[in-house]
Subunit: 146 residues, 2 copies
DNA sequence: TTTCGTGCAAACCATTTGCAGCAGC
DNA sequence: GCTGCTGCAAATGGTTTGCACGAAA
């Protein structure tokens, strides 16, 4: 595991959190996924089981929350019934256009957004930014035709 | 009702949608709310009942979807268990900082975002932008202390 | 008259929670 | 050993859906 990751874990350990195999292996999985792939809790669970890693859905949800709160991953919501999760890579966040009707999502990156997010967060008292998300909603070409 | 609103309704009517009292009165309610107030479906339902407007929760959810898809309102998600809704005023969308831990939300406006959103949406084939949302997640000052 | 929309109640389903046992540290 | 974490199973709760009736156009 790269140093930056262990460093973060050590910091969490000092704060009283425990680094369990489940938490570690879940994060490991996120690093193995292709960039831009965002999976649901259910999908992540299946992936882990197929890697012979035992983890209950309950723990998975608790771990996802843990990793999100600590900035390791991002929680994405596209207005569907469930959430999606992906690795949080600072300065490399990508963003989404979402069709209000069919749910189609298109990704995009924008260099300017980081600066803007950083500036806005900095204007607040002690707000420690972990993630920022830009979403554009509308009607995609196909749905407009119908 | 201002002309712009009736115009939109007429357009919808032409497209085969029906303008029912429930849809009309729900939208009316959004116009009456203070700017920046975003309520949950449950809260909206209570408000309507207290105004003696009969509407079932099921219809409310269907109407919220209808109004969202057609760009009248915005559906907001702060990572909580339920969604929030507010009027969608083009060029005047506001955005949010959200604490990952306590759920505190702070609003902000940013003039530059509209241009950026418009540009990005324009680069896609026939994507008709209805709304854009910028969210910044992190840890607020109070939660960091704990 | 023809659809489309509504209300009701039941179903859904992702997520959360209580509790007892287990395991980091 | 202390305390936080996990697994299990049950509960939760916002949201969706089937169906029969009512109403917009």
């Amino acid at each position: 595991m790269p140093e930056s990751r262990s460093e973060k874990f050590n910091k969490l350990r000092e704060e009283g959190y425990r680094i369990t195999p489940q938490r570690k292996q879940l994060l490991e999985l996120f690093y193995e996924l292709p960039e831009g792939e965002h999976l649901s809790a259910e999908e992540l669970h299946k992936k882990l089981l197929s890697k012979k890693i035992q983890i209950s859905l309950a723990t998975l949800y608790r771990s996802l929350k843990f990793l999100t709160e600590n900035g390791f991953i991002r929680e994405l919501d596209f207005g569907e019934y469930h959430k999606h999760y992906e690795l949080n890579i600072p300065h490399k966040q990508h963003h989404h256009l979402v069709c209000n009707i069919c749910g189609l999502t298109i990704e995009f990156e924008d260099e300017n957004l980081y600066e803007q997010a950083f500036k806005i967060a900095g204007e607040q008292d002690n707000f420690e930014m972990k993630d920022y998300q830009f979403k554009i909603f509308g009607i995609c070409g196909k749905c407009a035709e119908r």
